[in-house]
C-alpha cells in the first residue's frame, strides 16, 4: 500500500543494521581466527577491545565457539543473525519471500558452521547469503523508502563499526557520504544537525573516532 508503519520502519532499519553487523564481524572474526591458529592465540582480547564488547571468553577455543555461535551471548554473531532474522520474518510482505529466503539460508549455514571443523567455510556462505540479500533488496523492492531504510540501517551500522575499529579516514569518508545521500529518502526521522556534524568530523586531519561513534549513535530521532 506504499505506506510504512512506525514498527515496520523500525524493523527495516534494524534488519539493515544487523545484517551489516553480521557481515562485518564475520570478516573480522575470520581474520582473528586465522591469527589464532598459530600466530597469536590470545589475540581475541584485542578483538573485544576494538569492538567494545566485554571479554567474557575463557580461552581461544571458548572465544571461537562462543563469540561466533553462542545463543546466550548477546554479542555473538549468531545472536546478531537471529536478530536480523527476527526482523526479516516480520517483513515478508514488504521485502518478499525471495529476499527473506537469503536470511533464512544464512541462518541454516550458520547452524552448519557451528558444528563444522572448519567453520570459516560455512561462514563464507553466510556472508554470500547476506550479500545476495542486499543485492536482491536493491533489485526487487519497489518502494524506495523501504529500500532506503534498510540501506540507512546498514550504513549507520557500518560507520559505527568502522569508527570503533579506527579504520582509515578514506573508508569513513566514503561511508558518511553514502549515508548522506540516502538518509533523506528513508522512512525514518533523523537529526539533521548530527548529519552535518558528521560531515565536519570527517574533514578533520586526525579523526576523532570517539566522537564519530557518539554522533552516529544518536543520528535518529
Amino acid at each position: 500500500m506504499g505506506i510504512i508503519s512506525i514498527e515496520q520502519a523500525d524493523r527495516l532499519y534494524w534488519l539493515g543494521r544487523y545484517t551489516e553487523r553480521v557481515y562485518t564481524t564475520i570478516r573480522l572474526y575470520a581474520t582473528s581466527y586465522d591469527i589464532m591458529i598459530d600466530i597469536n592465540k590470545g589475540s581475541y582480547d584485542e578483538f573485544c577491545r576494538n569492538l567494545d564488547i566485554p571479554n567474557i571468553y575463557q580461552s581461544p577455543e571458548d572465544f571461537k565457539a562462543t563469540y561466533a555461535f553462542s545463543q546466550d551471548d548477546p554479542n555473538s554473531i549468531y545472536s546478531n543473525l537471529m536478530r536480523a532474522y527476527d526482523n526479516a520474518i516480520e517483513l515478508r510482505d514488504m521485502i518478499g519471500s525471495e529476499c527473506l529466503s537469503y536470511i533464512q539460508l544464512a541462518l541454516y549455514d550458520m547452524n552448519k558452521a557451528k558444528v563444522s571443523e572448519a567453520p570459516l567455510v560455512e561462514l563464507q556462505r553466510v556472508m554470500d547469503n547476506i550479500l545476495a540479500f542486499w543485492g536482491l533488496t536493491d533489485d526487487i523492492i519497489e518502494s524506495e523508502s523501504c529500500r532506503n531504510t534498510i540501506k540507512v540501517g546498514k550504513r549507520i551500522e557500518r560507520i559505527d563499526l568502522y569508527g570503533r575499529l579506527h579504520l582509515s579516514k578514506e573508508m569513513l569518508v566514503r561511508e558518511v557520504h553514502r549515508l548522506a545521500g540516502r538518509i533523506d529518502r528513508c522512512a525514518l526521522h533523523y537529526r539533521k544537525a548530527v548529519m552535518d556534524d558528521l560531515g565536519e568530523l570527517i574533514k578533520e586531519e586526525q579523526l576523532d573516532y570517539y566522537r564519530i561513534v557518539q554522533e552516529i549513535e544518536q543520528i535518529l530521532e
Binding site: 500500500m1 505506506i3 510504512i4 508503519s5 512506525i6 514498527e7 515496520q8 520502519a9 527476527d86 520474518i89 516480520e90 515478508r92 510482505d93 518478499g96 519471500s97 527473506l100 529466503s101 533464512q104 539460508l105 541454516y108 522512512a187 525514518l188
Partner: protein
C-alpha cells in the same frame, strides 16, 4: 502408476520449503518453536468429474451455512420452525450475542471457508467438519506447487492439472468484493502464531498489508492504518487472522492486547468489512454440524450433495440409546474442542474410562456428538524410501466473492503415525499437494 521423477525430488522440494521458511509455530513446554511442515511428494489426485461434484456440493453447503448465520443473527426462522433446537444455539460458545442484528457488508458471513472431508474406502466423500472462522492451510499447497514445478518440470508437462497458484487471486477478489473503501489489511496476532507463515505469505501474494492490532486505530467511525509520518490511511477490509474473542477489547475479551478497540463498532456500522464475519463459530460448532444437511434442505430446498459422516446426537433420546448400544463402534467428540483434541474412540477405552465417559455423556448430552468410524481410504506416502498407506483428509477452500468460488486444490494432511486417525499438523502430521485434473 506413479511418476517417479517428482518423488525423486521430494528432498529438493522439502529443502526449498525450508528455504522459504514454510513453517508453523508450536509451543512445547512453554517455549516457542518453529517446525517445518513435512511435505510428501505423492499428490492426492482428484479426477475432473469427481471434483466438479465436490465443487457443487461444497458451494451448496457454504451457501446454506451463510444463510444459517444470517438467520441466526437475524430472523431466527430456523428456530421458530423447530429445525434446530434453540439450546444448540444459545448454549454454544460459538454464538455471540453481540452480533445480533449486525449485518456484515453484502450479507456475507463466511468469506473463506475450510471444509474438511475424508474419502471412504467406498470412494464416497464425507464432510468431517466445517471451519468458518479462520481456517488456515491454503498457503502450503500453493507454495508447494510452485516448488514442485521448479523441482520436476517434466511432471507438469505430462499431467494436465488445474493450477492452484491462483489462490491469491481468488482471495484478492474475495477481499475486494467487500472492501468498503480503503486499503486491505491482513491482521495477524504476530509471529508467534502457529500460522504466521501463512499470514505473511498471503499478504505478500495478495498485495495486502500485514498488520498487528496496534498499527490500526479507530477514529471518527472509521478504521485507519497509521503510517510512519503519522499519516492515517483508511482501511476498508480486514482479513483478520485473530479469533473473535480477541478482536476488540471493548466488546469481547477485555484483556486482549492484540485486538483493536472499537473495531466492532465500526464493523457494526458497515464502515469496514471483516473477513470472516464475527460470530461464525455458531455455524461450525460440532453440535450444529449434525444439522447442516437439514439446513441445506430448509434454506435451499435441495437435497445435500455431500454427506456428513453418520452422526448421532445424544441430545435426542433415540440417538442416545443408539450410542450406548453401539458405543464401541463410535468415535465421540466434545463439541467445545478443536484441533484433534477432545476426540475419543469408544473401542479404545478401558472399562473404567467407558463408565466415566457414559456418566458424563448422560449428564451433559449436548456436549458430545457420536460418529460412525469411517473406513478411510488411505493415501500412499513415502517413508524412508518406501511407499506406505496413511490416513489423510482434505481441507477444501470455498471463497465467497460475487459468487462462490471453490479453489481447485486443497490441503491434504496425513498422519505420520500408522495407527492414528488424527491428521492435524499441530499433532505432527504432514501435507501433500492436491491435484485436480483439468481433463
Amino acid at each position: 502408476m506413479y511418476d517417479m521423477d517428482l518423488f525423486e525430488h521430494t528432498d529438493t522440494v522439502n529443502e526449498l520449503l525450508a528455504r522459504y521458511g514454510v513453517k508453523f509455530g508450536i509451543y512445547k513446554n512453554n517455549e516457542f518453536k518453529e517446525q517445518l511442515f513435512p511435505f510428501d511428494a505423492i499428490p492426492r489426485i482428484i479426477e475432473k468429474d469427481e471434483f466438479s461434484k465436490l465443487e457443487k456440493g461444497l458451494k451448496q453447503r457454504v451457501m446454506a451455512l451463510n444463510l444459517f448465520l444470517k438467520d441466526i443473527y437475524g430472523e431466527k426462522k430456523i428456530i421458530r420452525d423447530k429445525v434446530v433446537p434453540e439450546e444448540f444455539i444459545y448454549a454454544s460458545s460459538g454464538y455471540l450475542t453481540q452480533c445480533e442484528g449486525v449485518m456484515p457488508v453484502k450479507g456475507i458471513y463466511s468469506h473463506i471457508s475450510g471444509i474438511d472431508l475424508v474419502q471412504g474406502k467406498n470412494k464416497e466423500w464425507y464432510i468431517l467438519e466445517d471451519n468458518l472462522r479462520v481456517p488456515s492451510g491454503a498457503s502450503y499447497p500453493m507454495i508447494a506447487r510452485e516448488l514442485c514445478r521448479r523441482s520436476s518440470p517434466r511432471t507438469f508437462q505430462d499431467y494436465k492439472l488445474e493450477d492452484n497458484r491462483n489462490y491469491a487471486e481468488l482471495l484478492r477478489r474475495t477481499l475486494d468484493h467487500v472492501n468498503v473503501e480503503g486499503h486491505t489489511v491482513i491482521l495477524t496476532p504476530g509471529r508467534y502464531n502457529a500460522a504466521y507463515f501463512e499470514h505473511s505469505y498471503l499478504a505478500e501474494r495478495t498485495g495486502a498489508h500485514l498488520a498487528n492490532g496496534h498499527e490500526l486505530i479507530v477514529e471518527d467511525d472509521k478504521l485507519y492504518f497509521i503510517g510512519v509520518e503519522g499519516k492515517k490511511e483508511r482501511v476498508g477490509a480486514v482479513y483478520r487472522r485473530i479469533s473473535d474473542e480477541y478482536l476488540d477489547p471493548m466488546t469481547f475479551c477485555e484483556e486482549s492486547v492484540i485486538g483493536i478497540p472499537h473495531i466492532f463498532d465500526v464493523y457494526r456500522k458497515g464502515n469496514v468489512a471483516l473477513l470472516n464475519a464475527v460470530g461464525n463459530g455458531i455455524a461450525d460448532d460440532k453440535g450444529i454440524y449434525y444439522f447442516v444437511p437439514k439446513m441445506i434442505k430448509y434454506y435451499l430446498g435441495e437435497d445435500p450433495i455431500l454427506q456428513n459422516a453418520p452422526t448421532y446426537l445424544p441430545f435426542y433420546k433415540e440417538d442416545m440409546d443408539y450410542v450406548l448400544e453401539h458405543f464401541d463402534d463410535l468415535v465421540l467428540k466434545d463439541v467445545a474442542e478443536a484441533g484433534g483434541y477432545g476426540v475419543v474412540f469408544g473401542s479404545s477405552m478401558t472399562a473404567a474410562q467407558k463408565e466415566d465417559f457414559i456418566a458424563l455423556l448422560k449428564k451433559e448430552p449436548r456436549r458430545f456428538i457420536a460418529q460412525e468410524v469411517i473406513d478411510f481410504m488411505d493415501l500412499d506416502i513415502m517413508e524412508k524410501g518406501e511407499i506406505v498407506p496413511r490416513k489423510a483428509d482434505l481441507r477444501a477452500f470455498v471463497l465467497m466473492a460475487d459468487e462462490p468460488l471453490v479453489w481447485k486444490s486443497g490441503l491434504t494432511r496425513f498422519s505420520r503415525n500408522p495407527d492414528s486417525f488424527i491428521v492435524n499438523s499441530s499433532q505432527g502430521g504432514g501435507f501433500k499437494d492436491t491435484w485436480v485434473l483439468s481433463q
